[in-house]
């Protein structure tokens, strides 16, 4: 939905220092530009649960990390997320790719569509679905506003970004 330059521009605007991530077929298209960005460090992890813990360490060390994973990784990383966001109340922000949302025929019956939103709701985070592929500029502005709102209120947040071809 977003181009790599758009994403890098957004993260620079929001002063993120590190992107802690595992790519999927959408997020992975941003990887080269993220790695080429001088102001953002790219931290690839092996499993999504790691991402929240690495981001937690970065945060308490004074950095401003973004967790960027697919919704399947959200499912995997529950205990790590719970610990960082709720035991220690670290206001981490994440971009989570919503697999197949824009073209649900790609993976018919994909259970990601059944569980992603209820799980985010269960965690009680500030989460917003961005699925308006024809309005990317407005969507990017909305993500920025959400992120800043989370920072001001000191709460964790998730930008749930619809994936697939619109």
């Amino acid at each position: 939905m977003f181009t790599a330059p758009q994403v890098v521009g957004l993260l620079q605007e929001l002063s993120f220092t590190h992107v802690v991530t595992i790519p999927d077929s959408t997020l992975g298209q941003w990887e080269d530009d993220l790695k080429a960005c001088d102001s953002i460090e790219y931290v690839g992890v092996c499993r999504e649960g790691e991402a929240w813990a690495v981001a937690a360490g970065l945060h308490v060390g004074g950095a401003t990390p973004l967790v960027m994973i697919q919704c399947t990784g959200l499912f995997e990383s529950g205990d790590s997320l719970r610990n960082a966001l709720f035991d220690y109340r670290l206001p981490l922000f994440a971009v989570i790719g919503y697999r197949s949302f824009l073209n649900q025929s790609t993976l018919p019956g994909d259970t990601c569509l059944s569980f992603t939103e209820p799980i985010l709701e269960a965690w009680g985070m500030d989460w917003v679905l961005y699925d308006q592929a024809e309005n990317t500029s407005e969507q990017l502005e909305a993500i920025a506003a959400q992120c800043l709102r989370c920072r001001e209120t000191g709460v964790p947040g998730v930008a749930l970004v619809a994936e697939g071809r619109a």
Binding site: C46, E50, V54, R89
Partner: protein
């Protein structure tokens, strides 16, 4: 080398670290190491007592700290059971090539605080898994193995000073009946205090 009976005493092995620890060095402890580290004396502002924890995530948490503060040495005191939960983190750590990072595995071969059940890396008293070899295969260049307390004491400072990422394997005797650690206070407030010390 996991082992469930032999090995150096946990408390004394941690005390070695306490004696040589520099004032600007972060020490992250979890599970049994957290329990005994707290009992050894007054907390240091750069102690991260990882209680409550997400079991397995201590190496990753410490990696984030090391990346954020490259001038501070970060020492992660992990258990073998915890390590087995997050072996991929070994690769993540070496991929980031953090020179200010030391991962110490206190290997007693068992899940101590749940009653001493052997980990899948142990059968009876026999080690089934070579933890240092795992680290080597994951890309660690600096690997140190100690089965004797005196040898650990003699080398500990040099080990910490070695350019990392560094992997240290200590053979530790399990403590029968040991209980889990208790949080020394509200976790959010401790996290804020630690962050203040890290960024001072």
């Amino acid at each position: 080398m996991s082992q469930s009976q032999a090995g150096m005493p946990l408390v004394e092995s941690l005390n070695v670290l306490r004696e040589i620890r520099g004032d600007d060095e972060v020490v992250l402890t979890v599970m049994g190491t957290a329990r005994e580290w707290m009992a050894l004396g007054e907390p240091h502002p750069l102690d991260w007592i990882y209680v409550p924890s997400s079991m397995g995530q201590a190496p990753s948490l410490g990696l984030g700290m090391a990346l954020a503060q490259p001038d501070k040495q970060v020492i992660v005191c992990n258990g073998d059971g915890c390590m087995l939960m997050n072996l991929g983190s070994l690769v993540t750590i070496t991929n980031q090539a953090v020179s200010n990072y030391t991962l110490i595995i206190f290997d007693n071969g068992v899940y101590e605080i749940t009653g001493g059940q052997p980990t899948p890396a142990t059968s009876g008293t026999a080690a089934l898994v070579d933890h240092p070899a795992l680290a080597r295969a994951a890309g660690f260049q600096q690997i140190f193995v100690f089965e004797d307390l005196d040898a650990w004491r003699e080398s500990a400072r040099d080990v910490i000073d070695a350019p990392g990422p560094t992997f240290v394997h200590l053979a530790i005797a399990p403590i029968p009946g040991a209980v889990g650690p208790r949080s020394p206070g509200p976790a959010p407030a401790r996290a804020q205090d630690f962050a203040d010390a890290m960024q001072a």
